[in-house]
Amino acid sequence: MKNNPFIVEKITKVITESEDSKTFVLPGKLNSKPGQFVMLWLPGAGEKPISLSGETEDGFSVTVCAVGPFSKAVNKLTSGDKLGFCGPFGTHFKLPKDAKAICLVGGGYGSAPLAYLAEVAIDQGVKVFFIEGARSKTRLLFTKRMREAGAEVLTCTDDGSEGPKCYSPDVLKTVLETHKIDKVFTCGPEIMMKKVIELAEAHKIPSEVSMERHMKCGIGLCGQCAVDDLGICLCQEGPIISGKLALSLKEFGEYSRDSTGKKIKG
């Protein structure tokens, strides 16, 4: 929590994950856990909270999808370029004791923290179903990495270019009906996560979600990421929260707030 201000390191490796996403490896030991995030700082371009997509002895990684000015600037970086960070911050995914099989459901770049979780779980001998949905084949992330790690990868795309033409909750439904799953973990658009939790609840399976809100400070002061009606800050008591808690939040899947604090749909 006190790892502020920023540490600036040279990027040691860049991996192209999809047509618009890259993974950046930075040196250093964070002792992070899957689901936690760092505040990533590119001097001159800004600062954003980004979930960790892995940590090994070689360093830690973040996977950045080029969507806005900041992430586009980051995605132009190459090995040897400098990138700042502080953290890790926030709560993490928790594997149940004696878990035998878990199911991870990712949508879009939400797969990043799940890939990290998958590797940790497989390391502990847990069977991992990795469901990933994306708009099209070229936007799927980590499928090779997950297969190599030993996960059972199930993909689906909106356009049918890889896997069935459906959404990831549809795939989850089949998995839950055919396998005994101890816990479901999800990260992606809230509408998708809501469906995932409801499916898990229907099967009486616990779930955890990664819930994102506009964050400015990352250290529990600015209050920008407070959620209704509980008033908790997701940089402190999130981003990983139980599915039950997410469903109890009035704004989950309904609205969020912009940088002014004004409510915005979705």
Partner: protein
């Protein structure tokens, strides 16, 4: 034992959530009340919405925090339901902080937020992070401070607190000017500086705004001195703010002349329940030293 009265507003304990800390939404404010805050201050609200500065807007260093959030807020009309929510559900007094770039606008914002019926209005005439039409905070000029408060007192009967900057030669004079304008109390101090932190690996100022207000333990002696000077100059109640992190810090502020203490950066150092922690530490000190009320401790350092 811990109760205190600020311009007719009764607080169960003297800890006040400082403006700009977890005060964006109604439910966030209610959450802080549950953490033991004796009163809550909203984030500063202006007439029109403001996005604030680009990130990074905050950075910690060894002895404090610097920030330049840039007074982001959704605008007075949009903020109204959030204040109303906090007023209805928090069960503690809610102080609405307001900000404007002209005197007329101050009146308009005060008129709008008063509709939520907060316990008081805090007038932020001292934010170091935005340029106003005078090129410096209103609270650097006694004459303008008087006029701003007068304007607000004309549109509302709510108690008005003036939030002052330490960046003046004579803060007592500014407090008297605010009193002359009709202020019912003073909040002191706003962040000091501004300061700057440069990251040497990238040779770049860390904050996007380059400079930011300094808070936290680094500014406590400055804040205590300012509160002392204000108490010497006027008998208005003071919310002593700046680097208060413990019950002992709070007592120091009260002995300098504060009736209540603002907590901001302390939420980072000790977690949101810092309000409960500080309250029980104040109580512990009072029992040990034989003080029976906050009022009894108030300003005692002036007698020495």
């Amino acid at each position: 034992m811990l109760s205190t009265i600020l311009a007719g507003v009764k607080l169960q304990n003297p800890t006040v959530l400082a403006s700009g800390i977890r005060g964006v939404t109604g439910s966030s404010l209610v959450y802080m009340a549950k953490q033991g805050a004796g009163a809550l201050t909203t984030k500063s609200i202006s007439l029109k919405e403001r996005k604030g500065h680009p990130t990074p807007v905050m950075a910690t260093y060894e002895q404090g925090i610097i920030n330049a959030v840039g007074l982001s807020n959704p605008g007075a009309e949009e903020a109204l339901p959030e204040i109303e929510y906090a007023v209805a559900k928090s069960q503690v007094p809610v102080i609405t902080s307001i900000f404007a770039s002209t005197i007329t606008e101050f009146g308009k914002v005060a008129e709008i937020v008063a509709k939520a019926n907060p316990a008081a209005i805090e007038v932020n005439i001292s934010c170091p992070n935005v340029e106003d039409e005078f090129g410096r905070p209103f609270a650097c000029d006694p004459g303008i401070s008087t006029v701003v408060i007068q304007k607000i007192k004309k549109v509302t009967s709510l108690p008005v607190f003036a939030k002052l900057t330490p960046n003046v030669n004579n803060i007592g004079e500014i407090a008297m000017a605010a009193e002359k304008g009709g202020a019912d109390g003073i909040t002191a101090i706003n962040t000091a500086g501004p300061g700057m932190i440069i990251d040497i690996e990238s040779a770049t100022p860390v904050l996007s705004n380059k400079v930011g207000g300094i808070s936290g333990p680094a500014i406590k002696p400055l804040a205590v001195r300012c509160v002392y000077d204000i108490h010497k100059a006027t008998k208005l109640p003071i919310i002593g703010t700046g680097g208060v992190n413990s019950g002992r810090d709070a007592v120091e502020m009260i002995m300098a002349g504060a009736s209540a203490v603002g907590l901001g950066s302390a939420v980072y150092y000790r977690g949101p329940d810092v309000f409960k922690q500080v309250s029980s530490e104040i109580e512990e000190f009072m029992l040990k030293e034989g003080y029976k009320s906050i009022e009894e401790m108030r300003g005692v350092a002036h007698e020495k």
